[in-house]
Symmetry: C2
Subunit: 164 residues, 2 copies
């Protein structure tokens, strides 16, 4: 497949393009803290949207933990719109901003399947500095306040994000 040209509207999100790997840690409620290995990819097809895929596995035994997939759309003026699907039965809209390497996103709307996890809000603070990406995710369930849930540092392992 020929690598498509980057759509000019993707300029503000181009710093996310490529494949990323790293390690993170998390905790939820009274549960035991856990550590994970993560793979993330941001790709484009020539359209003004990034396709995002992510998965994590446990650092200790490699068992699959979370995964998520969706699309990141830049909006003129520094806004960002994200559509995201989760394997635990919820799909959401996240809205936020990008200023240089600083992205801040939060759930604006969420819908759940009948058997879904009752996640009601995610907040993502993402900071990109060159080929290093650090994020914190805060999560709320059942309508409560979002609290610290995940934090990881990733390193870019492949620069291009062409194709799917």
């Amino acid at each position: 497949m020929t690598a498509p040209a980057l759509h000019p509207d993707l300029a503000t999100l181009a710093l996310l393009l490529g494949e990323w790997r790293g390690e993170g840690r998390g905790q939820w409620g009274e549960g035991a803290p856990f550590a994970y290995r993560e793979e993330v990819a941001f790709r484009h097809s020539g359209k003004p949207v990034l396709a995002y895929t992510q998965r994590t596995v446990a650092l200790d035994d490699g068992r699959p933990l979370h995964a998520e997939m969706g699309y990141w759309r830049p909006v003129p003026g520094g806004a960002v719109e994200v559509t995201m699907a989760h394997p635990t039965g919820f799909a959401e809209i996240e809205l936020g901003t990008v200023e240089g390497g600083r992205l801040r996103l939060a759930t604006a709307a969420v819908e759940r399947t009948p058997t879904a996890k009752t996640v009601t809000r995610l907040e993502r603070d993402i900071d990109v500095d060159g080929d290093t990406l650090h994020y914190v995710v805060r999560m709320a369930t059942g309508g409560g306040a979002a609290v610290w849930h995940l934090e990881a540092t990733l390193h870019r392992t492949q620069a291009t994000g062409d194709g799917r």
Copy 2:
């Protein structure tokens, strides 16, 4: 990566696993009919959920058309729950049933970003017969009735759907 064992709860959806390719055609409103080439993958990681990725390109010049990604969850009794993200700014929950090779899904809830396409409902009729998959997608925008939009026949090109 070692291929994980299929989770027993995935039995009813196992006939979707693998990679699929084929051609389809579509139309929307008064727009010109179009033809497309499609790639679909259903993968699993050992958990009771399928990760679904899809994209289409125009049959005439290969330009990217639609794409979508999400997760398909079987529920005891033949129900299916889908979380889906679309690059056009909406995310949705689809609910339906699977009986043998016959899947019927429809949007149960949809959320949109401020600049999204105003899709309000998708209906998917999917029929799998061996390594052939045929689907029809009906779509509604602005709250109207769902009407015929896409139809394609895909062939399984790779049987296993292990890993991401």
